[in-house]
């Protein structure tokens, strides 16, 4: 829940197929002494007089007039033997890359771009994937804005963490500079920028967080919103903010970059901003539909892939499916069938690779492997087949794909304020998505796209555009950020797609219950503090309140563990063994406590000097996710220390050690509580929303209480609550008396249960008093 980018954030491999050799070879001699630059302040750049760029030496850039440069000037500067930004000689690699850069479609329109950039404050730029816009446009701006003259940076936002990291690396290579120096990146929990940084790639969420303390984004002279067509929550909010800021700051330039041609919506939104379109390097793609709707799209997918392999000429296949389980299943089935085909009908070899967000990076890299050679000389050519989630739709480019198989589904986040369900659901894609998928087939040569639905279904059943994230999310976090950003009137805040009023209402209500907003909708001190944490409000409030329960250290660990993907690994071939290992850490009262136990075991293994990777492997724990939890913990700890939140623990020997933790959970998650229907039932009912749920089978809780607190509500074909911990209902009345005010409940079992408990507490108090 809190980790709202878990699926995409761990995608390694990034936007462009990274050229590993380049990053290795481009090691250069370190530039001038770092010590000297240590207290460099970008705001005072003008006082250093060019020191930032070239340490006092003359550079060709000094002859440029800011915001009046030409493509010719810039090319000249790029062609020099000396790097104009560092005054260091260019590496051999640099010129090689420069050649490929000049071949990019966007390169031909550099002058056109600059002319338009000079003429307007806001510019909409459309370039299909492969046009080179993400890497080149920020550099074109760099040569025009000359950040060392103003001390203001250029920001380029990306929806995904990995994209921000890998693009920054690529651009650092292209500019022949060290990553983290002139070119850097900033993502949640990681900042790789320095005092010399001129161009900063960052996640859209990160820019949003930054602007909470800098309402005018005054650090930047140009902000580039890349991949705006993806319409992430943060990009949408940024667009609305920038629309306001642009009116205040006439010197701020804004470029909105989109990969799809329906950029008109962006133009209209930004007061009819001018548009520049660059064609991508694409080949025609022939589209095929099925004559009848499919009964089982997975089976149809496997069949189609095999058919392509048997009948179509050379070329790799990309199959889109919805999730890990489905993808692994399909990979297994295809591999088995291909083995048969090779034996029976002399088919060529085919390698099948899965690709999804939670796949370890080294396995993700395998998709860039070459297709296998023919089995014997002159035999049928081999090919590779990649079975991917929709991360292969826009964020990742794999060359060599000629055939695309599109069943028309993807897993999408969905939120409905009425039942407060936020979940990932398999849903039909949009027409725009389908076109994007088809386009993947035409990257290297004319391709074919096989849609596993009828043309009629394409026309009638698919929506035009995927709903922007803002319409599919719980906005509690966003509303808190907006409040912190100084947006007072949330009702008339000019978003491109405003959320449903009910969603806004729920967000305000939740923040009010969490005491982050007062009854007038004003930010409280707690709310202001909570917004400092890059967490969901419930988690932030839980963390801030944890010293009251004498367990802030433990809650810090739990919060970090909840902010990373599942740390328990359960491979298909060793499920039983994995479950046994998990049982070692199990605490009968809750999954939260189990997470904590596993983390403590991990830390003591680390301190005991063991090979932690090996230890994790043996205990079926994800080293990657545990170490990233460790990193998150450090970041959060720093924020807590900055704001004077005490870090304390109950002694482990104290009988209240775990009880305190369970109580502290409720300080943030009192709205995520479920009551058992009856003592022998497996069915629980969520408080207030009146939804029936079951505890997710992954739980370790063996003797569930009548009341549980849960971390997330999962809606598949069944309704589950995942990561649950037993609680006592008395605690609810004590810790969240406003939410659990019996009078506000609808009549029903939960109200009667709460009434009984209230009475019991009253009696106990009376008894105590009379004694």
């Amino acid at each position: 829940m809190s980790d709202y980018k878990s699926d995409s954030s761990d995608t390694k491999g990034a936007k462009r197929s990274m050229d590993d050799s380049i990053s290795k070879d481009s090691k250069r001699v370190k530039t001038n002494g770092k010590e000297k630059m240590a207290d460099y302040n970008p705001y005072l750049a003008h006082m250093y007089e060019g020191e930032g760029k070239a340490a006092g030496q003359k550079s060709i850039l000094d002859t440029f007039t800011r915001q009046k440069t030409t493509a010719e000037q810039a090319s000249k500067a790029e062609d020099l033997d000396v790097n104009p930004w560092t005054n260091q000689p260019h590496s051999q690699q640099y010129f090689k890359i420069l050649q490929t850069r000049r071949d990019l479609p966007v390169s031909k329109q550099r002058q056109e771009f600059l002319d338009m950039y000079h003429s307007t404050q806001i510019l909409v730029f459309v370039g299909e994937t492969g046009s080179g816009k993400t890497t080149q446009i920020p550099q074109y701006v760099l040569f025009d804005e000359l950040p060392y003259q103003t001390g203001k940076l250029i920001a380029c936002t990306q929806p995904r963490r990995v994209a921000a990291m890998s693009v920054a690396q690529r651009v650092a290579n292209e500019l022949d500079v060290e990553l983290g120096e002139e070119v850097g990146y900033s993502i949640r929990f990681e900042n790789k920028t320095g005092p010399k940084t001129m161009l900063k790639y960052m996640t859209d969420g990160q820019l949003l967080r930054e602007s909470m303390h800098d309402h005018d984004m005054s650090r930047y002279s140009c902000i580039i919103l890349d991949e705006a067509h993806e319409r992430t929550l943060a990009t949408d909010i940024l667009m609305a903010l920038l629309k306001q800021i642009a009116a205040r700051r006439k010197d701020l330039k804004i470029i909105v970059m989109s990969a799809t041609l329906d950029a008109q919506k962006f133009q209209t939104y930004f007061y009819d901003a001018p548009l520049l379109a660059v064609p991508g390097r694409t080949h025609p793609v022939e589209i095929f539909y099925t004559p009848e709707p499919e009964r089982d799209y997975l089976e149809a997918s496997v069949r189609t892939v095999l058919q392509i392999h048997a009948t179509e000429p050379e070329g790799d296949i990309l199959l889109f499916l919805t999730g890990e389980e489905e993808i692994e299943d399909a990979c297994r089935r295809i591999s088995l069938e291909v083995d048969d085909m090779i034996r029976e009908s002399d088919a060529g070899p085919m390698k099948v690779y899965p690709l999804y967000g939670t796949l370890p990076p080294h396995q993700q890299q395998r998709i860039f492997d070459k297709a296998p050679e023919p089995l014997r000389k002159g035999g049928r050519p081999g090919r590779k087949c990649i079975v991917a989630t929709n991360i292969a739709e826009t964020s990742l480019t794999i060359d060599g794909i000629v055939y695309v198989v599109d069943p028309g589904f993807s897993k999408q986040k969905i939120y409905n304020p009425r039942s407060r369900v936020e979940s990932l659901l398999v849903s039909p894609i949009s027409k725009a998505s389908a076109q994007q998928r088809a386009g993947r087939a035409g990257r290297t040569r004319p391709g074919k796209c096989f849609r596993l639905y009828t043309e009629k279904a394409f026309k009638k059943e698919l929506i035009e555009q995927t709903y922007p994230e803002i319409l599919r999310s719980n906005l509690a976090n966003t509303v808190l950020e907006l409040k912190k950003l100084g947006v007072e009137d949330l009702v008339h805040f000019d978003l491109m797609d405003p959320p449903a009023p009910e969603t806004m209402m729920r967000a305000l209500e939740e923040l009010n219950y969490l005491a982050c907003l007062d009854d007038d909708g004003e930010l409280t001190r707690l709310g202001s503090l909570a917004s400092e944490f890059p967490l969901d409000p419930a988690l932030a409030v839980m963390l801030i309140s944890s010293p009251e329960f004498y367990c802030s250290n433990e809650m810090l660990s739990i919060t970090s563990l909840l902010s990373v993907p599942q740390i328990f690994v359960r491979p298909n071939n060793a499920r039983k063994r994995a479950d046994e290992m998990k049982q070692q850490f199990a605490h009968p009262d809750g999954d939260h406590l189990t997470l904590l136990n596993a983390y403590h075991a991990y830390k003591s293994a680390e301190q005991g000097g063991q090979d932690v990777k090996q230890w994790c492997h043996e205990h079926f724990l994800s080293f990657r996710h545990l170490s990233s939890a460790d990193n998150v913990r450090q970041q959060l700890r720093r924020i807590m220390e900055t704001h004077g939140i005490e870090l304390i623990s109950t002694p482990f020997t104290d009988k209240n050690y775990y009880t305190n933790i369970r109580r502290a959970l409720l300080a943030g998650f009192f709205m995520q509580v479920a009551m058992r229907e009856s003592s022998n039932s497996k069915v629980y009912k969520t408080v207030k929303d009146d939804q029936l749920v079951m505890i997710h089978p992954s739980t370790v809780v063996t003797s569930p209480y009548d009341w549980v607190v849960y971390n997330e509500f999962v809606l598949t074909t069944k309704q589950y609550v995942r990561t649950v911990t037993n609680i006592r209902p008395e605690w609810l009345l004590e810790i969240a008396p406003v939410y659990y005010d019996v009078d506000t409940f609808e009549k029903g079992e939960i109200k009667s249960a709460l009434t009984r408990i209230t009475d019991k507490i009253k009696r106990r108090q009376v008894l105590k008093g009379s004694r």
């Binding site: 709707p293 499919e294 009964r295 089982d296 799209y297 997975l298 089976e299 028309g408 589904f409 969905i414 939120y415 409905n416 304020p417 009425r418 039942s419 369900v421 659901l425 398999v426 039909p428 639905y453 394409f458 059943e461 319409l471 599919r472 009137d489 009702v491 008339h492 805040f493 978003l495 797609d497 405003p498 959320p499 449903a500 009023p501 009910e502 969603t503 806004m504 209402m505 729920r506 967000a507 305000l508 209500e509 009010n512 009854d519 007038d520 909708g521 022998n680 039932s681 069915v683 939804q691 029936l692 749920v693 009548d706 809606l715 069944k718 109200k751 009434t755 408990i757 019991k760 009696r763």
Partner: protein, 356 residues
């Protein structure tokens, strides 16, 4: 004693009267009390009633629900929650709902959020559709379309029935008319069959006149059905079929009643008891041996000519039989008279109306 009670349940010792009232009020909420019974004058529940109610509730609670039940209930609850808007224009409700009241303070008056110029703004949350299984896109709507078509057809049929209901009398009249025509048709067919037989037997100089026996023994039945005129072939065929069925049933009964004797018992010689009269024999099925059955051998064959005839409306069939009688036997079905000459002088016409 009551294992279903959780430890949080109020123990009876501590029940004060005020407590009682409160619980009572809640527990009765699912029942509807009409306004004419004000809550202040409501009679308190007796201990007996209370115990019964508690037992009922405990049983309901204690029963373990099946997976399907749980799933159905889950879905019902979800749908119920999803279909209910949280917004309200009622000032009291706004005051109660803090989120709404905050929005009201920001100037929310209903409709969508955002800039007023934005026409695309949504006023309702996006619907949630839980996909079940791995059906491809379009399959569900295809199925729905088929269902809808079926429903439409059913609707049309229902409409037809409705229309007919309006003309109930008309329908009854038509039904009666139909029944009357059927009766007349059967009568005409019988006459035609009989007259043909008589004519045939006259031609063969056969003086056998007992019509009751004819159908079993005279050539009519032994002739292939297809040689009979189509106008009454159906009647003979039905007779033959009925006869065959009766005989088969009889054989079956015989074989089952006297297990030692096979299905052909009716054809076997039987012991003749003098004291048995005909009725006894009949009752015992012993008279069978004396009867010879000759069924038309083409009884099971398809008969297109007959089918075409049977498909005609009753009135038309009747008209055909009437015409057959007139042409072959110079008999008018309506006058009930065989005319001596071809002209059939004296007969007012070929239809029933002509004879009114």
């Amino acid at each position: 004693m009551k294992p279903f009670k959780t430890k949080d349940t109020t123990p009876p010792v501590n029940q004060s009267t005020s407590n009682d009232d409160q619980e009572e009020e809640e527990d009765y909420m699912k029942m509807t009390f009409t306004d004419d019974v004000p809550s202040t004058t409501r009679r308190p529940e007796t201990s007996l009633q209370r115990r019964q109610r508690e037992r009922r509730e405990a049983e309901a609670r204690g029963r373990v629900k099946s997976k399907a039940e749980i799933a159905a209930e889950e879905e019902a609850r979800r749908e119920a929650a999803l279909s209910k808007s949280l917004l309200s224009t009622d000032p009291d409700a706004i005051k109660k709902n803090k989120g709404l009241s905050m929005m009201a303070k920001m100037g929310f008056t209903g409709g969508a959020l955002g800039s007023k110029a934005n026409k695309d703004a949504k006023a309702e949350p996006i619907k949630i559709n839980v996909k079940d299984g791995r059906e491809g896109i379009g399959l569900e709507s295809e199925r729905k379309r088929k269902l809808r078509e079926m429903a439409e057809q059913a609707g049309e049929a229902a409409k037809k029935v409705k229309v007919d209901e309006i003309g109930y009398r008309e329908r009854v009249r038509l039904e009666r008319e139909e029944a009357r025509l059927e009766g007349q048709l059967r009568g005409a067919q019988k006459i035609a069959a009989q007259m043909d037989e008589e004519m045939g037997s006259l031609e063969k100089r056969d003086d056998e006149t007992d019509s009751a026996k004819k159908k079993a023994v005279v050539p009519n039945s032994s002739r292939p059905l297809k040689s009979l005129p189509v106008v009454y072939r159906g009647l003979v065929r039905a007779r033959e079929e009925a006869e065959r069925d009766r005989r088969m049933r009889h054989d079956l009964e015989q074989s089952s009643s006297s297990s030692s004797i096979g299905p052909l018992s009716s054809r076997l010689p039987v012991y003749v008891d003098d004291e048995q009269d005909d009725d006894d024999k009949m009752a015992l099925g012993k008279d069978r041996a004396s009867t010879i059955y000759v069924t038309a051998d083409d009884l099971d064959e398809e008969d297109e000519e007959l089918a075409a005839f049977e498909a005609l409306p009753t009135a038309e069939k009747l008209a055909k039989v009437v015409m057959y009688l007139r042409e072959r036997h110079r008999y008018c079905f309506w006058c009930k008279f065989t005319y001596p000459d071809e002209a059939m002088e004296g007969c007012p016409g070929v239809t029933e109306e002509d004879h009114d």
